[in-house]
Symmetry: C2
Subunit: 407 residues, 2 copies
């Protein structure tokens, strides 16, 4: 049996459970008789370029379990997007170290990187098994029921809105929370799972799957504020006008772009502030508060879905099993089986790489500012066990003496 040398890397934005996938790869690889080395690349593709490897065969299984439970990418990450020249340099390094299996944990940009490396390996006649392992809080990988990392971030968003709704009920006004998600509204839509009673917020949800019109937004807020005496709003950072131009881009003069050409939407409170200012000035509502969930929603330690943890571990483990029992490169995908269980498939890289899933129409209410029950049923099992719950005092009014009814 030909000896195997494994290399694993992590790419893109960290998640609460990306290290579960890393440890799933490492422990399953160390279990294979053929495997003589398991390396990790520091900071993703860039670490391969720089030959910056850690020997994960010298790590204890105890510490691997502790790292698995730690959020964010333990190997570090990168936003590098390799082109053909970049890949040729990578092959030189992989060849020098005799790497036979490459696992990359990441989102759709990372899956595209794996696709390029895989194709370059074939073109260069270099024997390299390339497997992409899914991860993204945006839940925007096609062909997957959902992606590891999304359930834990969704849980954070749901809990955040459950709490913000209680806060807003105590001190009424308008509360607006901006949630990550460039093209896909899944994470913003998760705010709906923070709602328990019929009059609870979020009362309005704005997704990038629908065109955002400021005048309609203001009319929606006015209506909800009149109905409830308060209003809680979830807004995706990716909301855009009919031409596809981000609402934020219309505001900020110079926008940062990453190596993939994406405008930098996170890391600024500008969108929340702009929308709050509009509500204050146009609707004459005094107490208007905006929060931008920013990096908290993907990096907060201690808010994690146990279902997400288990599945993230499994996709790593399955990736190794597909690599050693299968005969082609691919991307591991999560398929839902029953209510609720999952199974895993290995899809061709081209079926997933570089494509973006957005929310299905069946998940978005006709109003365009709420989700459907189908979405609630889709998301709830992913959030896992032990979700905190909110309770209210029952009315039991005391009869007025000085101000009887009608006086």
């Amino acid at each position: 049996m030909k000896p195997a040398k494994i290399l694993v890397a992590q790419g893109g934005g960290p998640t609460a459970v990306i290290n579960q996938s890393l440890v799933g790869v490492v422990l399953e690889a160390r279990r294979q008789a053929r495997v003589e080395a398991v390396y990790g690349a520091w900071h993703g593709m860039r670490g391969i370029l720089n030959e910056d490897f850690v020997d994960l065969g010298q790590e204890t299984s105890h510490n691997l379990e502790l790292v698995a439970g730690t959020p964010s990418s333990a190997l570090g990450s990168t936003r590098d997007k390799p082109d053909a020249a970049y890949c040729r340099q990578i092959f030189q390094v992989l060849q020098a170290h005799g790497i036979s299996h490459f696992f990359n944990i990441g989102g759709n940009d990372s899956s595209d990187s794996v696709r390029i490396v895989s194709e370059e390996a074939v073109a260069a006649n270099y024997p390299l098994r390339c497997i992409h392992i899914p991860k993204t809080i945006d839940n925007d990988l096609v062909e997957n029921d959902h992606t590891p990392g999304f359930p834990s971030a969704a849980r954070f968003v749901a809990q955040a809105f459950a709490g913000a709704n209680l806060d807003n009920a105590a001190l009424p006004g308008v509360y607006l929370g901006v949630v990550m998600g460039r093209h896909a509204g899944f994470l913003t839509a998760a705010a709906a799972l923070g709602k328990k009673f019929p009059d609870d917020g979020p009362h309005l949800i704005y997704l990038p799957e629908r065109v955002f019109e400021l005048e309609r937004f203001l009319a929606d807020v006015k209506l909800m504020y009149e109905r409830h005496g308060r209003c809680v709003i979830a807004v995706s950072e990716g909301i855009h006008d009919a031409a596809g131009e981000p609402i934020l881009a219309q505001l900020a003069p110079q926008l940062e772009r990453d190596a993939h050409g994406n405008v930098q939407l996170s890391g600024t409170g500008a969108l929340a502030d702009l929308l709050c200012e509009q509500i204050k000035s146009r609707l004459k509502i005094k107490r208007v508060r905006g929060d931008t969930f920013g990096y908290l929603q993907r990096s907060f330690i201690g808010c994690v879905s146990d279902v997400d943890q288990r599945e993230a571990r499994e996709v790593g483990e399955k990736a190794v099993q597909f690599a050693f029992h299968g005969h082609r490169d691919g991307s591991v995908a999560i398929k839902r089986v029953g209510n609720y269980s999952v199974d895993y498939e290995l899809l061709p890289l081209a079926a997933v790489a570089g494509k973006t899933r957005v929310m299905e129409d069946a998940f978005i209410a006709a109003s365009g500012t709420d989700v459907t029950d189908a979405f609630r049923l889709y998301l709830r099992p992913l959030l896992g066990s032990g979700m905190p719950d909110a309770f209210r005092l029952r009315p039991n009014p005391v009869a007025k003496i000085l101000h009887p009814a009608g006086v």
Copy 2:
């Protein structure tokens, strides 16, 4: 024995455990043989003015326990600050309902409201026992070791920075998180408890107890960025210049003020955005991200200190015991006994009301941008059990082949 009628209210910003104190009052009051009614006022002092009461004698103990575990003020809150005329109206309502004991759960503004009501009651020869029950995430009540609500908010901030540090280590750059706290830096300082390894962030902490100078700030960031290749910064929303002018106020033209004359600092991402812009433009650092923790830090459901929960329950219970076994109005205060346990005292209202505690010098490092071990020892027991922990892969480098050392 004279029959007693209890009224309880909640004031100021909600916390994760303010309902524990409410339920502590209600259950202990219902246990007293003399008590014939336990009322709650909806939305604090304003609810009294409007005679808007709920009969908490008709609430089940089971639901009270569920409400106790729910964050934010179950009775609703208010920012009203009563003057003498406001208080006279309140007396008319209390007298009409035969209220004998008034409990108000809140921070230093709320304690001042209790003081005014208490003094007006004496002046009006109205027999009313007034007890203030402490609550504030700012931890700025004098004469208290700490205040209920602060430990849970501090836990959120510590967990947020622990996660933000991991995220920043994976994708290096500058991360800046703005934390609540107008005059007192306790909550911002809690960021230090998110640090585990010597090179972990937060690398810099800016507190309202020290004068903020932009040039020094930029020099600090530059130094840390050069040292660690990244930098995580905790900034209090209340940072100000040598004249005491908030840094935010220098930025925003028109600032909202509440009934107490306080400038509105929260609910906007402007301070983080301003400071990030300075770092980008002056230090030429490309990846700079700012988050404003906003309302998440006080209302997030599911991040709570069990120590905080127990103490918040106890201050409510003790308030009733002081009212029925003591002979004067007052404010319940937490005193630390041993390491770690607490006891409770009833202080004169004037000793606490309207005063603001700030961080002791012994808690702030000489650099002015870190806390001392004394602060770490002070805060750690308050955060409670089950704090999530972060772990790293150990180095174990793989020898380079193509790029050996020095080449």
